[in-house]
Each structure stands twice: as structure tokens, then as C-alpha cells.
């Protein structure tokens, strides 16, 4: 039972991270910096609780805010560039963040930051945040800002011609993604009790992309679905556990070939809603 709870908790944190990737992705921005933002959030939150005795919830929120602010600042140059260039920028940024933490002795440097107070209710906090995010994304979907974000993701030029300030929209989406990732990092830090720069490498950012792309990027349920499935399945099949990453990789390739839109699409969401309404 404890084991399942721990797997489920990690899955919850993965959902948060997958959604953090999805927020800027909605506006067409592919970020490889999400693990870097998680690191910023994790270290900030841990410093808050360990060094300043700030309680858990505000510490996690501060972690999110710090990451969000850094995301906002990084977002400004990121706006000028697109596609592969943006990917490279976020990749470089993610690595720089890691190297910077290796060099800060105040938070343990390369040896890591031990003694972070354990939050035994992490499960509830993680899924509480997931619930809040679901409400936010659902509200966003049918809202002025949500439509603007999707419009920018679909066609920047057409969006701009129709009165959308694409710079502002993309910047907000990027900062929001960093904020979410920062909170995810803060929650992770207080679940693991120990963080080190290695935990936030580029490959983790890649993992969040896999969650989102596998689940589907047309609606936010896609990344949620992807994070849940890919967090649970490896835990329950030994074979899968051992070859987890290879399977992720193959899955990504196969998805790109046969179903690049992911498992959950607009149509499947409509279908499920229909069933629930019973019509």
C-alpha cells in the first residue's frame, strides 16, 4: 500500500511537470528547460524551509514564484526566436541552471542538499495542485486568454493580425509553465528529502515531453493521461521497469510515426463527455 502510494505521488508530481511543459507548448513553444525550472523551485523551496523555517505551503509557492520570475526573464529573449532555436536556448538554460547549482556551496553544491523536511502528505498536496491545475486549464480552454494561446500556437501571424499581442501571450505562457514546474520541484524536494543537481538534467525535461506527447497535446488531459500511464505502467510490470527508458524512446518514435497527435485528442474528450452526460 505504501508502495502504491509512493508511486501515485510520483505520478502526481509527473502530472504537474507534464502540465508545466504543456502551458508554453500551447502557444507553440517547445521547452527543454522544465527540469531546470523544477530545480530552481526545488532549491528555493528547500532553502525556505531548511534555512528560514518557512512553512511548507508558502515555501512551495515561493519556489514556484522564483521559477516563474526566472522563466519570465528567460522568456523575453525566447520570444525573438522560434522552433529549433528556442529548443536550443531552453536546453542551454536547463544545463546552465544545473551547473550553477553544482557551484553554489550554500545549497550543498555537487554533493546535493540534504535534510529537507519530509512532507508526509505529499500525495494530497501534489494531487491538490493537480486538481487546481485541472480547474485552471479547463477554465482556460473556454476563455479569452486560452483561445488566444491556442490561436498563437496554431498560427502566430493570423493571431497577431486578429489583435492578439503574441509577445505577451507567449511570455505569460512561458512564465506560467516555469511557475508550475517550480512548484512541482518544491513538492518533489520535500518528498525526496534530498535534492542534487543531477536530478534535474535535460533528460528529465525530455521525459516530461514524452509524457505530454504520448498523452496528446490537443487538450490538457493528454499530458495528464500520459504522465499517469507512463508513471504507473513501469511500476507494475517488472520487465517494463527494467526497460522503462528504452520503451519510452520506442514509444515516442512509434507515436510520431502512427499517431503524432497523441492518445487523447479533442475527439476522445468529446466522446467521453458524451458518455458522462449519458446522451
Amino acid at each position: 500500500m505504501e508502495y502504491i502510494l509512493s508511486v501515485a505521488t510520483v505520478a502526481g508530481i509527473n502530472i504537474i511537470m507534464a502540465l508545466s511543459f504543456y502551458a508554453p507548448f500551447m502557444t507553440g513553444q517547445v521547452s527543454l528547460a522544465q527540469a531546470g525550472f523544477a530545480a530552481i523551485g526545488a532549491y528555493s523551496a528547500a532553502v525556505c524551509t531548511v534555512k528560514f523555517g518557512i512553512p511548507y505551503i508558502p515555501a512551495v509557492i515561493i519556489g514556484g514564484v522564483v521559477a516563474g520570475v526566472v522563466g519570465f526573464i528567460l522568456g523575453i529573449p525566447a520570444l525573438r526566436i522560434k522552433g529549433i532555436y528556442l529548443l536550443l536556448l531552453t536546453l542551454g538554460f536547463g544545463e546552465i541552471v544545473r551547473v550553477i547549482f553544482i557551484n553554489i556551496e550554500y545549497v550543498g553544491g555537487a554533493a546535493g542538499f540534504p535534510g529537507i523536511p519530509y512532507q508526509e502528505n505529499t500525495f494530497f498536496y501534489a494531487y491538490g495542485l493537480v486538481l487546481i491545475l485541472i480547474v485552471c486549464f479547463e477554465r482556460l480552454r473556454n476563455s479569452r486568454m486560452g483561445r488566444a494561446m491556442r490561436a498563437v500556437g496554431d498560427d502566430e501571424t493570423a493571431a497577431e493580425i486578429n489583435g492578439i499581442n503574441i509577445t505577451a501571450v507567449k511570455l505569460k505562457a512561458f512564465a506560467a509553465g516555469a511557475f508550475i514546474a517550480g512548484m512541482g520541484g518544491g513538492i518533489l524536494a520535500h518528498f525526496q528529502e534530498f535534492i542534487e543537481p543531477l536530478m534535474f538534467g535535460v533528460m528529465h525535461s525530455v521525459e516530461y515531453i514524452v509524457f505530454a506527447i504520448f498523452g496528446g497535446v490537443q487538450v490538457f488531459w493528454g499530458p495528464i493521461f500520459g504522465a499517469i500511464v507512463l508513471s504507473f505502467v513501469p511500476e507494475f510490470f517488472r520487465f517494463v521497469q527494467a526497460w522503462r527508458h528504452e520503451i519510452y524512446g520506442a514509444l515516442l518514435i512509434v507515436m510520431m510515426i502512427i499517431k503524432p497527435e497523441g492518445v487523447i485528442t479533442n475527439d476522445s474528450v468529446r466522446f467521453i463527455k458524451k458518455i458522462f452526460r449519458g446522451s
Partner: protein, 254 residues
């Protein structure tokens, strides 16, 4: 006068797509721009709507100098447009596409989105939806409201695109070859739609290849050829002008 184009030029890496073009668009008119392919018509629209930086000259909208303003600000000032090749947001429904057009006339930000109470649709959202539905009705597309835009046949996509442009309450509407790829019946319907839009007091700047449409509805025509304005006048004047016949109509008749 709603729009004044003053000695405008556009250079693409040494190639001069537009040169010394001056056009004055009168308020409330249907003003057509014609010219052979590659004459620079679309480029002119791109300069007006702000997609490209202008190389020479100035563009004024009402009393505002447009040079250097972002496209979304120009939209907010009241310039709407459609594209030569329809550019709807493919992943959105028809209704959502038109609702996007309301963006710059409404205000809810992210926080308002997440934290509005009571639950359910906000009043602004309702207002956006109703307004968008009205424009869909105006162009006769309500029956498609819930369909994904990318799945519509081309002439209907064009109507949705016009509805989206109208949703931002433009005073000046730029239409880039709206009748391209349409059959005569569809073209006639479009013709009626353009006249109807103009009837609401909106100024229309129209690029069109279809001579019947242009001659029938426009009050003034500017002719571009190789990036320069060669002639300007009423449809009757333009039709008789030898330079135009040579540059454009002559080719068509062959």
C-alpha cells in the same frame, strides 16, 4: 479619408516589390486594388496590416501614423484583414475562430480566467460568444459553428475568415482575393456579402482578380503593375485606360 498611403516602397533583399505608391482611401468606399500577379498587392496589404516593416514612405490611418506599430495594435485601431490563402486557426471550431476576433475588444486576463465567480461561463465570455454568433449569422455560417475549421470547404472557410475579421469591429477591412477559387454562384454571394458589409459603413480595400466582381462593386480602383501604381480611377475610367489594358486586361482577354 480613412487611410493614406504616402510614397510607400518595400524592398526585399535588393528586390523592389513596391515603389513610390500613394493611395488615398476614402471613408465608406469600396476601393479595389488590381494588377497582375506579383504586382505587389499582397505586399501592400502586409505593409498596411503591419506584417512587414515598411522600407520607404508612410502609412496613416485616420490621424495615426502606422509605421512601426505592431500588427495587433493596428487591428485594435480598427484594421481587419483576410489572407489570400485562408488562414483560420485549424485546430479550433468555427465559432472559436470568430471568438478570437473579439480578443482585442475584451479584457479578461489570466487571473480573471482562473478566479472568476460564480462558476460557469463569465458574463464577458457570454458576450463574446453572442457577438461571434451574430457575425456567423451575418455571413450565414451558424450551421457550422461547432465544426473544426480545418474541415470546412474552402468557400465556407473564407466566410468564416471574414466573420473573424468583422468580429474585431474594424472600420477598414482588407480583403485579399476573397473570390479566389470560387465558382460564379459563390462569387455572386460573396459580392453581395461585401456590399452588405460596406452598407454597415465599413470601408473596404479589396484585392481581386475577378474583373466582374471588381467592376461591379467598387467605386474606385487603383492599378498596380511591377510595384508601381500606374492608374487610378472609377471602374469606367480604368476599363478604358490603355495602360491598364496592356498591363492587365489585355492579358486576360487573350
Amino acid at each position: 479619408m480613412i487611410l493614406e498611403i504616402r510614397e510607400v516602397g518595400k524592398v526585399f533583399g535588393g528586390f523592389c516589390a513596391l515603389q513610390n505608391v500613394s493611395i488615398r482611401v476614402e471613408e465608406g468606399k469600396i476601393h479595389a486594388i488590381i494588377g497582375p500577379n506579383g504586382a505587389g498587392k499582397t505586399t501592400l496589404f502586409n505593409l498596411i496590416s503591419g506584417m512587414f516593416d515598411i522600407s520607404h514612405g508612410e502609412i496613416h490611418y485616420r490621424d495615426k501614423r502606422l509605421n512601426g506599430l505592431r500588427p495587433d495594435i493596428r487591428a485594435e485601431l480598427g484594421i481587419g484583414r483576410t489572407f489570400q490563402i485562408v488562414r483560420l486557426f485549424p485546430s479550433m471550431t468555427v465559432l472559436e475562430n470568430v471568438m478570437v476576433g473579439r480578443h482585442c475588444r475584451t479584457h479578461s486576463g489570466l487571473l480573471k480566467t482562473f478566479f472568476h465567480f460564480p462558476l460557469g461561463e463569465s458574463s464577458e465570455e457570454k458576450q463574446i460568444r453572442n457577438n461571434a454568433m451574430q457575425w456567423l449569422e451575418f455571413v450565414g455560417m451558424t450551421h457550422r459553428a461547432q465544426q473544426v475549421a480545418a474541415n470546412l470547404p474552402h468557400p465556407e472557410q473564407r466566410r468564416v475568415e471574414i466573420a473573424r475579421a468583422l468580429a474585431l469591429d474594424p472600420d477598414l477591412l482588407l480583403l485579399d482575393e476573397p473570390a479566389a477559387g470560387m465558382n460564379p454562384k459563390e462569387t455572386m454571394d460573396l459580392d453581395a456579402l461585401i456590399v452588405k458589409i460596406n452598407g454597415m459603413g465599413k470601408t473596404i480595400l479589396l484585392i481581386e482578380h475577378n474583373m466582374n466582381l471588381v467592376m461591379g462593386i467598387s467605386e474606385i480602383i487603383s492599378v498596380l503593375n511591377f510595384g508601381e501604381k500606374i492608374v487610378e480611377g472609377t471602374p469606367a475610367e480604368v476599363k478604358e485606360n490603355p495602360a491598364v489594358i496592356e498591363a492587365y486586361l489585355g492579358k486576360k482577354r487573350n
